[in-house]
Symmetry: C2
Subunit: 235 residues, 2 copies
Amino acid sequence: MKESRVLGVLGGMGPLAGATFMQRLTLLTPAEKDQDHIPAILWSDPRVPDRTAARLAGGEDPLPALLRGIRGLEAAGCGAIAIPCNTAHGWFEAMQAATRLPILHIVEAAADELLRLGVAAGPIGLLATKGTLAMRLYQERLEDRGYDCLVPPEEEMDRAVMPAIDLVKANKVAAAYAPLAEAARRLIMRGAKAVVLGCTEIPLGIGAGPALPFPVADTIDALARACIAWAKPAA
Amino acid sequence: MKESRVLGVLGGMGPLAGATFMQRLTLLTPAEKDQDHIPAILWSDPRVPDRTAARLAGGEDPLPALLRGIRGLEAAGCGAIAIPCNTAHGWFEAMQAATRLPILHIVEAAADELLRLGVAAGPIGLLATKGTLAMRLYQERLEDRGYDCLVPPEEEMDRAVMPAIDLVKANKVAAAYAPLAEAARRLIMRGAKAVVLGCTEIPLGIGAGPALPFPVADTIDALARACIAWAKPAA
């Protein structure tokens, strides 16, 4: 494949999020036939060690597995890399330092999505893994842009958000809706103008039930839009 | 990735079918966490020349693009290849001759799916591209197993089935439901005991509306089940 136009997707974290990313990338691309779509390679390696456990509980370092995927995408001729896993962006700088390919940052894509939703500044809610929250992947980048991040209390993270993420990874997607929708609602009640679904399992759970009556920035769609802008800059 | 367990998926034909295949592979795999899922690489090259046009209208030969994908999946360390595009199986023998990796045949998977649905022999309906029908990819293999294939008349293929497949490739999935559901119903009215959705765009269209009240063999799910059996023979 011609290098400049082929997207590399480092997925498998989780695999349902990576597959759904490919689906949304396809559905959001203006196309009339197969040949109008974006060539892409999805490196779906669900064996990458758990990112939150690595950061918070001394679990195995995921970086070697992440770099193995990046090498594979480079070898396949990709021209840029997208990673539909927010927590893996805790290793963004190490990954970017190890490749000449640009890696499209999911938090920047989420910030662009907030603008697209008409939410330009102020308090926003953040649903993400405990690893992503602890690494402040969103807080620092969004605060630079004029947002304040509200996050669920520790008790709700342990009782509702993390178990719901695990339900999606275990293919029990519908069961993840209620706890995630409730956590999002509480952030809105605390004053958030929108909620960022800052873990790619979360839009899968939220997508399994009725649409939420407030703006949500879906990081699967946000990253897909960034990839389309990269692949089809004229579109 | 360890070669023996990594699945290679030659997709992009169309890209929505390839992405949905990855999603169904994930959802059909027994798993409690990311690391239980099947490592896989999706080579999504939607630039592969149109398979039906190549066979019926002297269009560009897709084989070089198919072989490029197979080389890429080999280089990435895959241990077997699945191709979620029925029509591409018209080049199966040429592809299989060009690689030492086993290619899991989608028509064999569809036949296994018919058995799983409890349809062991007799008349079955076949919805597929004109290329797949002309190459008799299903007729010969299914007749060997005791089935008779009923196919839509030429007029209905041109008016309903092929345009519906093109709608899916153009991301107009919901609009594909009615013509495909009607074509399936007509096959049942002619005596078919089940309908094989023998083009991977067709289950996407059929999935966009109410479930059909007769057995359908979805070739996306059928191929996913064959891949899971390959990757997790003990499961």
